[in-house]
């Protein structure tokens, strides 16, 4: 497939580019990147669709399965459980992370020395891998030797990983702990690009701090909010590592999000066909969300908005 596209390129270009000769050579520079991307991303993307109609245990021969995988997975209540959980975690973590990141972003955009010092510490969680964060939280939550005991806060001594609602809440908290710093950085950058003149004008008009926040800061951050939200929402489809290490999908199936469901069906239950069906669902959701959020951003400002970020 990649060979076909690369071979077509020069002839097409020579038609378009007769006037500026040297530029046609530029097309070749994209070949290595395109090759890697096509072989290890585009072909697998097509492969996942094909495998969703196949029967394969991950080791033996691959056979045709017809619609079998699709009918069995679509009739499986576990799919809807995973789907619901994925959206629940996506929406609740968005609701938790966005206001916190926004406020911290505005806060750390200030010039005061102590804020810069705080910002240095805020970003520490970004240095840890999801596996490290999950392992650390398991230790932290030990009712006898963890935070609950250390801080003298008995309400923290719960069976966090044993009760479905608590496990879900814990995951949302840990996701926020890990990713709020990243989104704070994005908002900090956004706030720093708001022109000063807007605030000066507002001051002359007698607008207070709160009014300025809602009438200038927030509207000016519209595109930053959309960028951050897109990263959060599409990224939430891939919280695999954290949940895999922290809860393994449990207790029961109460934290088995789609990505985890795909992994467990494919590599634990050796049902690659049904796992591929889940993968296709994941791809479709990802694309749909990205397109939806792009619409929210409006069509007019795309080019310059991109630069603003």
């Amino acid at each position: 497939m990649s060979a076909a596209t690369t071979h077509r390129a020069p002839s097409e270009l020579s038609k378009n580019e007769l006037t500026s000769q040297p530029k046609s050579a530029l097309a070749w520079l994209t070949v290595p990147a395109l090759f890697f991307f096509v072989v290890f991303a585009v072909i697998p993307l097509i492969g996942v669709l094909i495998l969703s109609f196949a029967r394969w245990d991950g080791i033996g021969a691959i056979g045709a399965a017809g619609m079998e995988n699709w009918t069995s997975v679509l009739a499986d209540p576990d799919l809807y459980n995973s789907l619901g959980l994925t959206f629940l975690i996506m929406i609740v973590s968005w609701l938790v992370q966005t206001p916190i990141s926004l406020l911290l972003g505005v806060f750390t955009a200030g010039t005061q020395r102590y804020r810069a010092a705080l910002a240095v510490l805020y970003f520490l969680p970004l240095l840890l891998s999801s596996a490290a964060v999950a392992i650390a939280y398991k230790a932290l939550l030990d009712p006898n030797f963890g935070l609950a005991m250390g801080l003298g806060l008995p309400f923290l001594a719960q069976d966090w990983l044993g009760v479905p609602q608590l496990a879900l809440g814990l995951i949302i908290f840990v996701i926020a702990w890990q990713f709020v710093p990243f989104h704070t950085l994005i908002y900090q950058g956004g706030v720093r690009q708001i022109p000063k003149s807007l605030y000066e004008a507002a001051q002359i008009d007698g607008a207070g701090t709160i009014k300025q926040f809602f009438h200038i800061t927030l509207p000016q951050l519209k595109y930053t909010i959309i960028t951050s939200s897109t990263l959060m929402v599409v990224g939430s489809l891939t919280y695999f590592d954290l949940i895999f290490v922290l809860t393994g999908g449990g207790p029961g199936n109460s934290t088995r999000i789609l990505a985890l469901d795909m992994y467990l069906r494919g590599f634990r239950a050796n049902l690659m066909g049904p796992a591929s069906v889940i993968a296709v669902v994941l791809v479709v959701i990802g694309l749909a969300l990205a397109l939806f959020l792009q619409r929210l951003g409006g069509k007019d400002k795309q080019g310059s908005q991109l630069e603003g970020m």
Partner: protein, 301 residues
Amino acid sequence: MSTLLKSDPVTGSPGSPTSSVKAKQSLRTRMKRLNIPGGLGGWIWLAIIIIPIYYIVITSLKTSEGYFGQNPMALPASPTLENYQLVLEANFSTYFMNSVMVTLGSVIPTVLISFMAAFAIVRGRGRYLKFVNGVFLMGLAIPLQATIIPIYLMIIRLNLYDSLLAIMLPSIAFAIPLTVLILSNFIRDVPNELFESMRLDGCSDWQTMWRLALPLTRPAIVTVAIYNGLHVWNGFLLPLVLTQSPELRVLPLGLWTFQGEFSVNIPAVLASVVLSTLPILVIYVLGRRQLVSGLTAGFSK
């Protein structure tokens, strides 16, 4: 990310340089007034961040008597490095070297080939380049983890299963779209006159790319290299699925298996967490500014 999808490869960047100049001045007057609610929230968040990290570090320095006997938040009565010794004896140096190799082996090719592609997309014209750009932009919107099963199949068929190369190849492919996007944004900011003068001096595109575009976009290259490096360094799913042998484990995977084996020895488990983060912490201390800009990789340029 998808808000970036429609960016036109040809048009320039209106507005950005001027607004960033203005922004610098805007800070002082405005920010002093948001102090009270922002400050309170700021300190609360600091506590939320620091308390777990404090716990991880002090516990990793405790003996098991200290862990079971002391208050969990108290400083270790007799600090010890024996947990770290235990972790190092459990092959962590191998995991560390594997992580270094996988990270360098992914990031260097990614940045190199993405830079070439970005240069072509910005400087060239024609339907083919537009098409390539469109393919990469589409790649941004796809959760590439979903392709893990066909990747597993391909890696087996290529006889690469259970090798470090198996982790690198998909890592490179997954990182290309964003890297191309960010680098092309930076190359677009290079004034056209500079390219013109190179052309008048008789330089080929190839020479212009290495002698003009590369030096001028070096900060951006460092930024994307760090961003991609962190992702590969912390990556978990690809090593989990594509390798098997203990001697090929990368750090996150080693961490996970270590935790499984030593689950009763919490101080040692936490020492492994600290140890696996230490290299990145060193980078953070040495080049915080670069790392921070690398983390957002141009999302907030």
